[in-house]
């Protein structure tokens, strides 16, 4: 069951010595050994990072010595990622080119490994082109968000010469044009990605963590506990979520943290409900009875035995929720009660563009497209993960 093509050509045995130097470039060794996917990924990522470094060298130098935390993170991330690509590709190329001796000797163990549910899911996901494209889009946006200080050509908040730069149409100098104050719209969109993505991810982490713990406690203990906890969920669900958010946002002063908490704490009920259902069926399984018979405390049974077994559906619902959260944040910011200018967020950028739609269409269009693309990508990714993890879809093909 050796599925690796062409392991007989380690990089050390490359015919031409000049090629050996070339093989130090991340991904090249993989390509030479016929590992196309890994090679292209490594090579592409390295080239992307290196070209950012080269094209924005001045910005990099300035940010490197800056004391601002986001400059520090962006520059160090860029360097570590580049170094990481190099080290990983050398290590991985070595690993592939030396025959695996640590694997279990018998064939059944090896083929069992290849059939492990995790591997099967990975392979199924990789074959879903749309989901993979969505994953790349999301990763690209994440990279943009982290490297924002290096990528933005202008200060996103600077109002330099409003009379001359007001409402400039998209051009090479201003890729997405400028707004009524003459701010570079591309720079603001780049910084806006930070807000949208971080609110999306953090709110989902809050919601899923809270919902999972809440639902599994209700499901595991059952009876009165379950009844009390789930009736509270019913009460919360009875509030129209968006209006609840509106109310909360107007009570508390909206900042990123407050927004994350409000979004997270109003949307955990769905997760709690279906985790409870999962736990209700899981706890009747014999291995939970066995865990109780071995005297394991409730805490360990819930967190180490029940929740990991319910992880797959949680992952699917979490990835579906991210898109919704980003949309909700944009909605609140659009209405002017989420992230407030001058901090850019795609939501408040669309809001700003709404008034100028007939004068300067690009102001609303670019953040709108970015938002739509992001939400769409998260939904496609969630679909891909669900199909990959669902044992009912096409499992047979891979066993």
């Amino acid at each position: 069951m050796n599925r690796r093509p062409d392991v007989s050509r380690p990089p050390a045995d490359l015919p031409d010595p000049s090629l050996r130097v070339f093989a130090a470039m991340p991904g090249v060794a993989h390509l030479l050994m016929g590992r196309w996917r890994a090679g292209l990924n490594l090579l592409g990522f390295t080239v992307l990072l290196a070209s950012i470094l080269a094209l924005r060298w001045d910005a990099f130098r300035e940010a490197f010595s800056s004391s601002a935390i986001d400059d520090w993170v962006a520059t160090r991330f860029l360097l570590i990622a580049l170094l990481g690509c190099l080290v990983f590709s050398i290590w991985d190329a070595r690993r592939i080119s030396t025959p695996d001796t640590s694997a279990p000797s018998d064939i059944t163990a090896a083929s069992a490994k290849a059939r492990s549910p995790y591997r099967v899911a990975m392979r199924r996901f990789a074959e879903n082109t749309l989901a993979v494209a969505a994953l790349y889009t999301i990763l690209l946006f994440c990279l943009v968000a982290i490297l924002a200080p290096l990528l933005a050509p202008y200060d996103p908040a600077a109002i330099e010469d409003p009379t001359n730069t007001r409402y400039l149409a998209p051009s090479m100098a201003h890729l997405f044009g400028t707004d009524e104050f003459g701010r570079d719209w591309f720079s603001r969109a780049v910084y806006g990605a930070r807000v949208s993505l971080s609110v999306g991810f953090l709110a989902v982490i809050v919601a899923v963590t809270f919902g999972t713990v809440y639902g599994s406690v209700a499901g595991y203990f059952g009876g009165m506990v379950d009844n009390a906890l789930m009736r509270l969920v019913d009460v919360i669900i009875a509030f129209p979520t968006f209006f609840l958010m509106l109310m909360l946002v107007s009570v508390f002063e909206a900042s990123l943290v407050v927004l994350v908490l409000i979004l997270g704490l109003t949307s955990w009920t769905g997760t709690a409900r279906f985790i409870r259902g999962e736990i209700l069926s899981l706890k009747e399984r014999e291995f939970i009875e066995a865990a109780r018979a071995m005297g394991l405390p409730h805490r360990i049974i819930i967190f180490r035995h029940l929740i990991p077994n319910a992880a797959a559906p949680v992952l699917v619902s979490a990835s579906l929720m991210v898109g919704g959260m980003i949309g909700a944040e944009a909605g609140l910011s659009f209405l002017g009660i989420g992230i407030r200018p001058p901090t850019p967020s795609w939501g408040n950028m669309i809001g700003q563009g709404q008034g100028a739609l007939l004068v300067a269409w690009w102001v609303a269009l670019s953040p709108g497209l970015l938002l739509a693309l992001t939400v769409l990508s998260f939904n496609l990714l969630a679909d891909g993960i669900r199909d990959a993890l669902d044992p009912k879809t096409l499992m047979r093909k891979y066993i």
Partner: protein
Amino acid sequence: MLLRVENLAVSFFLDEGELRAVDGVTFDIQEAETVALVGESGCGKTIVALAILDLVASPGRRVGGRVLFRHEDLQKVSSEKLRKIRGGQIGIVFQEPGAALNPVFPIGRQIAEVLQLHLGMLRHDAEREAVRVLGGVGIPEPEKRFKAYPFELSGGMQQRAVIAIATCTRPALLIADEPTTALDVTVQGEILDLLRDLQERHQMAILLITHDLGVVADMANRILVMYTGKLFEKGPTARVYENPRHPYTKGLLSAIPRLGLGKSAPLTGIPGAVPDLLDLPSGCTFHPRCSLADEECTEFFPEQRVMGIARECACYKAKIT
């Protein structure tokens, strides 16, 4: 005395009414001996095992009797202490090894987890000990198998892993609930050998629950015969096999095919079927299927009577012969 079960009664409270799954079961287990609990499917054997550890799940509940482990009433000890006894002093092996292992953790971790919890070992020591335990239950290449997930193992290997989890803390009592039923015959023998071997090494008592009388003859010092939640007969295995007192035990034994019996001696089964536990016959619950039954049997359930050395039997018609 290691374990004493006194007048144990367990009921399930269903919409249709109270279902008495275990009724007045009394027996005891000495240190390092093997006691077999036998009976047809659905007669309450597993419920006895769960009730010993106070694990009967709702809608079931223990409604009477006591379970004494080393003279301590398990219903009166604190829940913390009960947790320590479960897994620490009393291990349990379930029928379906594939279902009794957590599918998302390597088997080695599952053993180490129990060691960390009950023996207070540090993670590193627990993992090393887990490898040793895996080797001790006859799993080849324990260092590699430590990282194996349950689905990567065969049924026999899975059952060995389950036994390893149940015995890694050196419990004084192992409850083995149909440990070989889900396995094929050749593997059955190996698992029984393993249990005997562990018993010898750790001086561990075994409560063996099974419906396979062949297994019992091999393993058990004493036998308890159960029917409709009640004990019908108790005694040393050899003597019960030689000379069963209760008509039900006689029926069970005559239903075992044996080599060398020839065609002339047809197998005899017990007529009829196990009654519905919600609608038990009056008096002795076996009387509708019993050839010796008369008026007397339909009125009250017979008391356990001492019939011979260390033997008891609940039947009006049984005679000391």
